[in-house]
């Protein structure tokens, strides 16, 4: 049962990710990205990582996507205004991506996976167990990440604030 669910979710996530890249309208890109994120959250549930699935939905679909949509609406970019690259550049981009995939798959093909260690503990993904590991072994990175958040918040506010002394440049000199 969970096998079929895995393949279905994998198909959905790859298809939606392709649509994110190819959609003309940025709003459609954001909506397909939300589909991708929900498919990945489903993968986490299949992997018995319930806490990660919930955090993933809250952080990505709840916060980051709202931020993206907000900026797109604020900048009035919700129309197909993007100039397209030349076909040569598009072809080179697709070729480079496919070559990267080829190299990675070839490296995977040559390597041998060590088998899963016996029958691993099924409930390491629950909140209690993850919390114990996080606050026993990874306390310092956890606290440092709060500093990172603080600096990101200050940086975002500083960047977003309008400076009255600087006149906006209307023409870009190319």
């Amino acid at each position: 049962m969970s096998e079929y669910l895995f393949y279905f979710l994998a198909f959905v996530s790859i298809f939606a990710a392709l649509l994110v890249v190819t959609a003309k309208n940025p709003i459609h890109s954001v909506l397909f990205l939300i589909v991708t994120f929900f498919a990945i959250a489903g993968q986490y549930i299949i992997l018995n990582a319930q806490f990660l699935a919930i955090v993933h939905i809250i952080v990505y679909a709840g916060a980051i996507m709202v931020l993206f949509l907000f900026v797109l609406m604020l900048l009035n970019l919700n129309k197909e205004s993007e100039p397209v690259k030349s076909y040569l550049m598009k072809g080179i981009g697709v070729l480079a991506g496919c070559l990267l995939a080829l190299v990675m798959v070839a490296a995977l093909h040559k390597s041998t996976m060590s088998p899963a260690l016996g029958n691993p503990n099924e409930d390491i993904g629950l909140v209690g167990n993850l919390g114990k590991v996080l606050f026993k072994e990874y306390v310092v990175p956890f606290e440092v990440s709060s500093l990172l958040f603080l600096s990101a918040m200050i940086g975002a506010v500083m960047l977003g604030k309008r400076d009255p002394k600087i006149e906006p440049v209307n023409e870009i000199t190319n």
């Binding site: 969970s2 895995f6 994998a10 790859i14 990710a17 392709l18 994110v20 890249v21 940025p26 890109s29 990205l33 990945i40 993968q43 986490y44 992997l47 990660l52 955090v55 952080v59 990505y60 916060a63 980051i64 931020l67 993206f68 900026v71 604020l74 900048l75 970019l77 993007e82 100039p83 397209v84 598009k90 080179i92 981009g93 697709v94 991506g97 496919c98 990267l100 990675m104 798959v105 996976m113 899963a116 260690l117 503990n121 390491i124 993904g125 167990n129 993850l130 590991v133 996080l134 990440s145 990172l148 958040f149 990101a152 918040m153 975002a156 960047l159 600087i166 906006p168 440049v169 209307n170």
Partner: protein, 101 residues
Amino acid sequence: MKVPIEHYILLSTVLFCIGVMGVLLRRNAIILLMCVEIMLNAVNLLMASFSTYHGDAAGQIFVFFIMVVAAAEVAVGLALIVMIYRNFKTTDINLFNKLKW
């Protein structure tokens, strides 16, 4: 746990390469940030699957920290894009070539 780990690696590889292709193909800076998010999610998925297959919780903690970094990155990146748009009235990255070469 019946799905072999190789399939998770393949799925993550494909998602990562789609993200790379998006960064190479698109010119809108906001969509570039979204493609970076796809790449981060591919890595997250692989980390979580390794964590489950080997019964080690450290992988899921790393996913947690990657999410923290991704959230901070998106906040700062979108603030930068808003400031650039305010000054230049566009988010086309091909016009911002002062730092190129």
